[in-house]
């Protein structure tokens, strides 16, 4: 029992950056904008989130400033790919570089060379009354920090929005067939812009969560490829909010399991254990063809007057 709780207690926070960043990714993806700047934006989020918490005091501020920074990057991506119709992939990669550089530069300017890393308080947990008293489930799910609750509420909200509201119906149509959506009066431009801005803000929050829950400080490599995995996760989850949560649980679970196996002194070279999450994902994808569908117009720019788009 304790084993299970201990395991899940590690999995839940490990899921959060994946969930936030992947929901951000599918939000813009469902509007047709294929963002590939996640790795950089998460690092920027971690840096800016940490720096804001450190200088202004308070993690909430840090998260908000990180979200704003991410949103700004999203705005650049959105405008470049809608108003200017620049290639989404190239702009995304350029922003990956830029945000990666900016993250370190800001840290260098504000903190500089020191032998003592500056620290911020970690996020506090807020047990939900009654619910947190449920054995196992309560301990694991309802005794967490606020960002955990936010991530899950957001996922449910996104699912509700996309599949249960008419605004969601309009929203998804933009990523499937913007010309058809446009011909019915749906504002493709505006939809793409807000989805990309909001999506990128979520990605940055996913990054900002890392220093706040794990380390209390920013380090350059702390995102460690999660941004790239988030793209894989969006495909794995078929660009749907509910499947993405399941996919994030799978990623985080395999990751924690891999370390667990090492701690338990399993006599396999640790490199093979560390491969596990990636190999397992590939195997799962073999059976994922049923749900792994992507938005029909993902990655393409829409030009109303061109016959080639739409």
């Amino acid at each position: 029992m304790n084993e299970v709780v201990g395991f899940l207690a590690l999995v839940i926070p490990a899921m959060v950056p994946f969930v936030l960043a992947a929901q951000g990714t599918i939000l813009s993806g469902r509007a047709g904008v294929f963002n590939v700047s996640q790795e950089g934006v998460m690092v920027l989020g971690a840096s800016v989130g940490f720096l804001a918490s450190f200088t202004l005091g308070g993690n909430t501020i840090g998260l908000l400033v990180a979200a704003a920074a991410g949103g700004l990057v999203g705005l650049i991506l959105a405008l470049a790919t809608t108003a200017l119709r620049m290639d989404q992939f190239v702009v995304g990669l350029a922003l990956y570089f830029a945000t990666l550089g900016l993250a370190s530069l800001l840290y260098r300017v504000i903190v500089g060379v020191t032998l003592e890393p500056p620290l911020i308080e970690l996020l506090e947990t807020y047990p939900i009354p009654l619910l947190s008293d449920i054995p196992i489930v309560g301990e694991v799910l309802f005794d967490q920090d606020l960002v955990v609750y936010f991530a899950f509420a957001l996922s449910f909200g996104l699912w509700w929005f996309m599949y249960r509201t008419s605004a969601g119906l309009r929203f998804r149509s933009v990523g499937e067939n913007p010309k058809a959506a446009d011909s019915l009066g749906v504002n493709v431009f505006r939809t793409r812009v807000w989805a990309t801005v909001a999506g990128s803000a979520l990605v940055a929050m996913g990054g900002a969560y890392l220093p706040m829950v794990y380390t209390g400080t920013f380090t350059e490599g702390m995102v460690a490829g999660r941004g790239w995995l988030v793209i894989a996760l969006a495909f794995l989850g078929g660009w749907r909010p509910h499947y993405v949560v399941a996919g994030a649980a799978f990623f985080a679970g395999m990751d924690v399991l891999a370390l667990r196996a090492q701690v338990a002194d399993i006599a396999i070279p640790h490199q093979f254990v560390m491969m596990l999450p990636y190999v397992a994902t590939l195997i799962v994808m073999i059976f994922a063809f049923r749900w792994a569908r992507q938005p029909g117009f993902l990655g393409n720019n829409y030009d109303r007057e061109s016959r080639l788009s739409g």
Partner: protein
């Protein structure tokens, strides 16, 4: 992700485009210069070293050529599958597995004569890379697994794999870093001149010509592009699209794998963690800047190699922090794209 077709190219159009591109690079450096000034550093010294490092010394030029090789090869690893509409984001994994295969042969076969061993090492690299992209190709054709996903994941698997090889199979105990012991002398590519340029540069040059020709003027190259443009129409007209896309992935992986083997046999003499550097991203950028045009790839790659070599010089000579280099690279890319937009806007007005 769209419009990878090469724009029409008359001579004036080409000159015009080159001027625009030069302008965007300048603009990027201008903005970068402002950042450098704000940091209280000297942008003139910084940029001088970017431009001069590759050309002022023989060593700088050789280093630039040596950096050019993996960038070109990774760019092909990206653009060849892209022609058929597939995104190979796995060049670094393929490069590493190619390097592993190359190093395996270079170590175990160190007694063989160079005439045998060097080609064997390169071929091993090619096969290693092809196997790695082949996994993605198989999953794509057989099970419909998205290739972006599989190639990204296989990169991570490759990182662990080479860490294992460098830690357990042929570890170099004194390296202070995960690295294998050196390959035999006989496995090393011959060099020319002083400082020596390894033969991989020549191989890459020849390969570039071959790939450019193949993509442009062979039936297979045409079929690859046709598949990318409209897979249904291509198959209606007798093209075996899944075989072709899989083939494109395999060739892409093979080229990246060759890059790995050349890095082993030409530059490092062993396999070490981190040898993939940022060739994947640079390769993708080169491929995209060249609009997938195989002929343009080596030229664009040379520009990027000069920049890469010059970028670290900027840090050395003017203490410009490394992250400013990333920002300048991003700006170059953005401004290049922007120049395309502006150029076509102005063009359509006149």
């Amino acid at each position: 992700m769209s419009e990878v077709a090469a724009p029409p190219s008359t001579t004036t159009a080409r000159v015009n485009r080159a001027a625009w591109y030069a302008g965007s690079v300048l603009a990027a450096f201008l903005v970068g210069g402002i950042v450098i000034v704000l940091l209280g550093l000297n942008p003139v010294v910084a940029f001088e070293s970017v431009i001069t490092t590759s050309f002022s010394t023989g060593f700088g030029f050789v280093e630039t050529l040596h950096k050019w090789v993996p960038i070109v090869l990774c760019a092909y690893a990206f653009t060849i599958p892209l022609a058929s509409g597939k995104f190979n984001i796995g060049a670094e994994g393929q490069l590493l597995v190619g390097a592993t295969a190359g190093v395996a042969l270079g170590i175990t076969g160190s007694d063989l004569p160079p005439l045998l061993l060097v080609p064997a090492v390169l071929i091993a690299g090619v096969l290693g890379g092809a196997v790695w992209s082949g996994i993605a190709a198989f999953l794509m054709v057989r099970f419909g697994v998205n290739e972006i996903l599989s190639t990204v994941l296989l990169n991570f698997v490759a990182f662990e794999l080479i860490d294992y090889v460098a830690s357990y199979v042929w570890p170099d105990r004194g390296a202070g870093h995960p690295a294998t012991i050196p390959v035999g002398e006989n496995a090393m590519l011959p060099g020319f001149g002083e400082p020596a340029v390894h033969a991989g540069v020549l191989i890459t040059l020849l390969l570039s010509v071959a790939i450019g020709l193949a993509m442009r003027s062979t039936a297979a190259g045409f079929e690859l592009r046709a598949t990318g443009a409209n897979p249904r129409a291509a198959s209606v007209h007798g093209i075996r699209t899944s075989r072709l896309t899989a083939g494109g992935m395999l060739v892409g992986g093979a080229v990246a794998g060759l890059g790995g083997a050349i890095e082993v046999a030409g530059v490092h003499g062993n396999m070490l963690e981190g040898m993939q550097s940022n060739f994947l991203i640079l390769g993708i950028i080169v491929g995209l800047m060249a609009r997938g045009n195989a002929v343009a790839v080596p030229f664009v790659a040379f520009g990027i190699a000069v920049l890469e070599v010059g970028a670290s010089a900027m840090q050395r000579s003017a203490q410009v922090p490394i992250e400013v280099v990333l920002i300048v690279e991003a700006l170059i890319l953005l401004f290049l794209m922007l120049s395309d937009v502006l150029r076509s806007k102005l063009g359509s007005r006149s």
